[in-house]
């Protein structure tokens, strides 16, 4: 069985359309993020208290909210898990002045006491996360540092193995994937947690992985056919590896779908991030990484300024000739 018998699509022709589409998605997403006052940070980064409660009978959010009394002004209450789980998630933002002595858990204790006092049936605290402001700031800083340093490390590796323009192409594509993933997380109401950051870093690895396969093929093709213009070489490489790109994305997607469906509530955000990342990672490999690499390669040759299609082709030709 084969999906693409002998693919010969002209992906490079669509590069500007792709870039505009990506810019539109990222732009409107960034606007959403800006409008809501920043990324949706989970308790790991913003600090605060999260309680996952399991009741012995179905308990609507409203009942819990009512039982919390004055606490519910700041609290977010939502059902969690599957319908039969009777689980309620209660979140409280960080209160000022905590983190002295044992008072970090004051909010959690108040919530538990309020619910025990109210007539809402018995419940079990399945999970309790309390993050103080110091650790929240710490994790935020570390998260940003880890994302940037891992991108930097990958850039250096690719720049060493390939041309710099290709390295930049791969990194732009990866940045693109990170941004698109963040945008989709915001749109679908997922919060950034440590697990989600881990998933985003995995996406950077996956996306670069995908891009390298194409670039490796470009390098191989260039060795065989030196006279061919760069965009044709790249386009051929994208087509040659198309089956692999689609199948790998497909199988990884299948595995992650299993994680999304069966992995339980704790992993849901992580699995969602991976799902979005795989789709955008594949898209960016085909449409963004190669396009950026070609555009940059040309600019280097022409000394900046706009280059027409024909001129660019000629330039690329002479350049590859010279190189040969």
């Amino acid at each position: 069985m084969q999906i693409f018998a002998n693919p010969n699509y002209n992906f490079i022709r669509w590069r500007w359309h792709a870039i505009i589409l990506s810019a539109a998605v990222i732009g409107s997403g960034l606007f959403t993020i800006y409008a809501r006052g920043g990324l949706p940070l989970g308790v790991d980064f913003s600090g605060g208290t999260v309680l996952l409660l399991r009741f012995d009978k179905p308990t609507p959010e409203e009942v819990v909210r009512h039982a919390l009394g004055p606490l519910s002004a700041d609290a977010q209450v939502q059902t969690s898990g599957r319908p039969g789980d009777n689980e309620i998630l209660v979140r409280l933002p960080l209160r000022k002045g905590l983190e002295q002595g044992a008072s970090l858990e004051a909010d959690a204790k108040e919530v538990e006491a309020a619910l025990r006092g109210a007539n809402v049936g018995t419940f079990e605290v399945r999970n309790r996360d309390i993050v103080g402001p110091t650790i929240g700031e710490d994790l935020k800083r570390k998260g940003i540092a880890a994302t940037l340093t891992s991108l930097g490390g990958i850039l250096i590796y690719i720049a060493l193995r390939f041309r710099l323009s290709f390295g930049i192409g791969a990194i732009v594509a990866t940045f693109h994937d990170v941004l698109v993933t963040l945008v989709f997380l915001t749109w679908f109401g997922y919060e950034l947690s440590l697990n989600v950051i881990a998933a985003i870093l995995t996406i950077t690895g996956y996306s670069v992985n995908d891009t390298i396969v194409v670039f490796d093929r470009v390098r191989e093709n260039q060795r065989l056919a030196r006279r061919e213009p760069l965009d044709q070489v790249v386009n051929r490489a994208v087509n040659q590896t198309l089956s692999r790109t689609i199948i790998t994305a497909g199988t990884t997607f299948l595995a992650v779908v299993a994680l999304y469906l069966f992995g339980g509530e704790v992993l849901e955000g992580m699995a969602f991030t991976l799902l979005v990342g795989i789709v955008t990672g594949t898209y960016s490999t085909v449409f963004i990484a190669a396009a950026i690499a070609i555009i940059l390669s040309r600019r280097v040759g022409s000394g900046g300024g706009a280059v027409t299609q024909a001129q660019a082709k000629a330039k690329a030709q002479t350049k590859t000739k010279r190189a040969g």
């Binding site: 069985m1 084969q2 983190e99 002295q100 002595g101 044992a102 970090l104 858990e105 079990e124 605290v125 399945r126 999970n127 309790r128 996360d129 309390i130 103080g132 110091t134 650790i135 998260g143 880890a146 340093t149 891992s150 490390g153 990958i154 590796y157 440590l194 697990n195 950051i197 881990a198 998933a199 870093l201 995995t202 690895g205 670069v208 992985n209 390298i212 396969v213 490796d216 093929r217 191989e220 089956s243 692999r244 790998t248 199988t251 990884t252 997607f253 299948l254 595995a255 992650v256 299993a258 994680l259 469906l261 069966f262 992995g263 339980g264 704790v266 992993l267 992580m270 699995a271 991976l274």
Partner: protein, 519 residues
């Protein structure tokens, strides 16, 4: 025939056997993180300021005592900051004497500056301050460790955390009574026994006998009035303790004469000497038993006591045994506060394991099904290398004692997906090579050879990401990074070596010219 095929197969079998041996049975050999077995994870900060404050106060007390003993009069000796204390009103005639006594007592740790008018400022040396802070953290770490060990948790973690130098991470797997664990860990448990100079319900009455002014060698501590009386009173006590927690040899729960829970303690020989001397010369007076700056009880000394003592108060049985535990493990040099606390109930952990296993199996099934449909019999090849990949990964984890976490399971599932990648890359290339009408064997060899550099490139870049993830990560994330890292390493072996050997094994059974492949 292929060369060395026998050896290649043998290598694969040995590696598989080693991996299985390393992780079987997984229930005991693969370490589970807190998120999978339930428990509590806490990050604590040691308030090292406390330790410095105590050190400065102790030094100023020592100097005061030495000065009084030598007959040097002063108007005051008092700590003015964490690391500084001042001696005021030294008569000009005693100047030389003060210098001499100060040199003997505190000059090792404090720098002295003369402010004129008989005033001297003593400031803690920076290296002493730094050492004091580091020691406070180390001591706190050891104390917490002792307490946790006595608490009876299997495989607890107590370790320094982060780069600020004053944080400790504590992980207690399987603990459900988090409140009690926190109480035990965080209690300073500073025991002091001091002579009582007066008891009253308010400060003015208390100081009346002293002429309305707090004498320099005394201090006021709140406490319980007496047995069965919950009201608070104030005690005027001597600053210098008779004995402290460091003089303790042992502590154990007991009951007092009213059959109420209490704590019995015994002193070491040095403490016994001090205690014996103080009790024999103060018969009829009260001794305040002060725990964390609160007077628990103030019994009257009836006779000389040397080794044994008792702390009574309004304790429950549990409180008495917890108090003896923390007294035995020693006082914390500084107070602790909680920066982070994560508790996972055991039922959630068990659910997560079930969900994780189900997700892994479902992922494996879906991917295998797809590979079989798309690559026919070669799909079996992919299946074998993925299963072997996971086997080796588990073996690595168990052998290195790496912790399996919930995100780690996600790493497993992702490894299934990524592991297929290399197979797809190779299979596609073999198909391409077959399309050029080369022989089957050449096509297989060319497929593997051509793709090798690509596989190295992709794996190295992913390993870079995994390494940064590990370095950045806390518990669960590290578990994820670890599985990803070793999954990738195992994959290079299974996708390149194992998969190729399987192809060669199939081809070697067919005649060289007519070999075909189901791919």
């Amino acid at each position: 025939m292929y060369a060395n095929l026998r050896w290649k197969v043998l290598t694969i079998l040995v590696v598989t056997a080693l991996a299985v041996w390393a992780f079987y049975p997984p229930r005991t050999k693969v370490k589970r993180g807190l998120d999978l077995q339930g428990g509590v994870h806490m990050v604590l900060r040691v308030h090292t300021d406390d330790a410095l404050k105590i050190e400065t106060e102790t030094a100023s007390e020592q100097l005061r005592e030495a000065l009084t003993a030598a007959g040097v009069t002063t108007t005051s000796v008092r700590a003015t900051s964490l690391t500084e204390f001042v001696v005021e009103g030294v008569p000009p005639a005693s100047d030389a004497q003060l210098r001499q006594i100060a040199d003997q007592q505190v000059t090792g740790s404090f720098d002295r500056t003369a402010g004129g008018g008989g005033t001297y400022t003593f400031r803690m040396r920076p290296n002493v301050e730094n050492r004091g802070r580091t020691e406070a953290v180390t001591q706190a770490l050891q104390t917490v460790e002792r307490r946790v060990n006595e608490f009876g948790v299997s495989e607890p973690v107590v370790a320094p955390y982060g780069t600020t130098g004053d944080r400790i991470v504590v992980e207690l797997p399987g603990v459900s009574d988090v409140a009690r664990a926190k109480e035990l860990i965080g209690k300073t448990a500073r025991l002091e026994i001091k002579l009582v100079e007066g008891v009253a319900s308010d400060e003015a009455t208390l100081l009346q006998a002293q002429g309305g002014k707090l004498p320099g060698d005394m201090e006021i501590k709140p406490g319980l009035a007496s047995r069965g009386d919950a009201s608070k009173v104030l005690y005027l006590v001597r600053r210098t303790p008779v004995v402290t927690g460091t003089d303790l040899r042992n502590a154990a729960p007991t009951v007092d004469e009213y059959n109420q829970p209490a704590v019995r303690f015994s002193l070491n020989s040095e403490g016994a000497v001090k205690f014996g001397k103080a009790t024999s010369s103060n018969i009829g007076r009260q001794l305040a038993i002060i725990l964390d700056d609160f007077v628990q009880s103030a019994p009257v000394i009836e006779s000389r006591i040397e080794r044994e003592g008792r702390i009574t108060g309004s304790f429950t049985q549990q409180e008495a045994s917890d108090l003896s535990l923390v007294l035995r493990s020693g006082a914390l040099p500084a107070s602790l506060s909680y920066l982070e606390e994560r508790t996972v109930g055991p039922s959630l952990g068990a659910d997560s394991v079930r969900a994780g296993v189900r997700a892994s199996l479902a992922g494996l099934a879906l991917v295998t099904l797809f590979m079989l449909v798309y690559y026919k019999l070669a799909g079996i090849n992919a299946f074998v290398s993925i299963v072997l990949n996971l086997t080796i990964l588990l073996g690595f984890m168990a052998y290195l004692g790496a912790v399996m976490t919930l995100p780690g399971i996600a790493g497993f599932v992702l490894t299934i997906g990524m592991g297929v990648d290399s197979n797809v890359l190779i299979f596609e290339r073999i198909r391409e090579e077959l399309a050029t009408n080369r022989g089957t064997r050449q096509a297989v060899a060319a497929g593997f050879n051509r793709v090798f550099t690509t596989i190295v490139d992709t794996h190295v870049s992913s390993l870079i990401a995994a390494a940064f993830l590990f370095q950045f990560g806390t518990g669960p994330i590290r578990g994820f990074a670890t599985t990803l890292f070793f999954g990738l390493l195992a994959n290079v072996f299974t996708a390149v070596f194992v998969s190729r050997t399987l192809f060669e094994l199939i081809l070697s059974r067919k005649p060289a010219g007519a070999a075909t492949l189901s791919i």
